[in-house]
């Protein structure tokens, strides 16, 4: 469980300006449901990611609201329009106040 919050982002290696780029992102997170791993029931205060914020060039381009109906180690794909080289930043917020961030550089080749 020490790995909670590791974010992996994958963007295609060759991008041209103006391309619509498909991004895949994975975060290590238990997304708790009714039982914890040790079999004890969780009465309340489930630990799961409830918000994902995507920013590109410091502008928010998308926001996802997620629930426990998203699998463990949640994986998202989405697309965005690459206009300029810059940083794509994805922030995950969970219900216990955790904040996990991953960044990817958008470069043109």
């Amino acid at each position: 469980m020490a790995e909670i919050g590791r974010v992996r982002i994958r963007v295609p290696s060759s991008i041209k300006p103006g391309d619509i780029v498909k991004v895949r992102v994975l975060v290590i997170h238990p997304m708790e449901i009714v039982q914890r791993k040790d079999g004890k029931p969780v009465d309340k205060n489930y630990h799961f990611i409830n918000r994902v914020i995507v920013t590109y060039l410091d502008k928010e381009v998308a926001q996802f609201e997620t629930s426990q109906s998203v699998s463990e180690n949640p994986f998202f794909t989405f697309s965005f329009k690459a206009t300029e080289p810059g940083v794509l930043r994805i922030t995950f917020l969970d219900t216990h106040g955790g904040k996990y961030e991953g960044t990817a550089d958008v470069k043109f080749s």
């Binding site: 498909k22 109906s69 998203v70 989405f78």
Partner: protein, 171 residues
């Protein structure tokens, strides 16, 4: 004497304590709501309460008409999911993403999950294309729908049935 002050209303705690002494508290549960039910909701209460799918649709969209969007929404799901804990889903909407006319939000709703609203994706024109994907947990064989909200308020819906061999919600 702060606590002894009579505010003129009977608090739930005081009432339960008084009735508990008489052995009657069990009778009150249906009247006052089940306290355990409330705590089991925990931090979920604001997100997706446990409710039937009709209630979800009503809560989210009220009485706005939902059009059939099968032509423009490509909802990608497996026909049979062996493992309900990981069901890949992707939604691709063939709509222009211009500031005047774009996809504002995509809702993924699975009818038979205890909390039918699985995820809401709020998009902006900067996305270029309305495409999102994720992995879902499905409790049992169910219909999964994608509801797309356009910037002008139009709602479009596409549905697919997924057969789940092993449910993924039981923990």
């Amino acid at each position: 004497m702060e606590r002894g002050q009579s505010t003129g209303e009977i608090t739930r705690r005081a009432l339960l304590r008084a009735l508990g002494a008489l052995g009657l508290s069990g009778l009150l549960v249906p009247l006052l709501g089940n306290p355990r039910g409330v705590s089991a909701q925990g931090n979920l209460a604001n997100l997706g309460p446990e409710e039937p799918v009709d209630a979800t649709m009503k809560r989210l969209f009220g009485s706005r008409p939902i059009k059939d969007g099968t032509a423009s929404i490509k909802l990608d799901l497996p026909l049979i999911a062996e493992n309900g804990a990981v069901v890949p889903v992707s939604v691709d909407v063939s709509a222009p993403m211009t500031p005047q006319n774009h996809v504002k939000a995509i809702y993924i709703i699975s009818d038979k999950n205890r909390r039918p609203l699985n995820a809401k994706f709020s998009l902006t024109p900067a996305m270029g294309q309305a495409y999102v994907g994720t992995n879902l947990r499905l409790g049992e064989s169910t219909e999964v729908r994608a509801v797309v909200e356009m910037s002008d308020g139009t709602l479009l819906q596409a549905k697919r049935e997924v057969k789940v061999t092993v449910g993924g919600c039981g923990g």
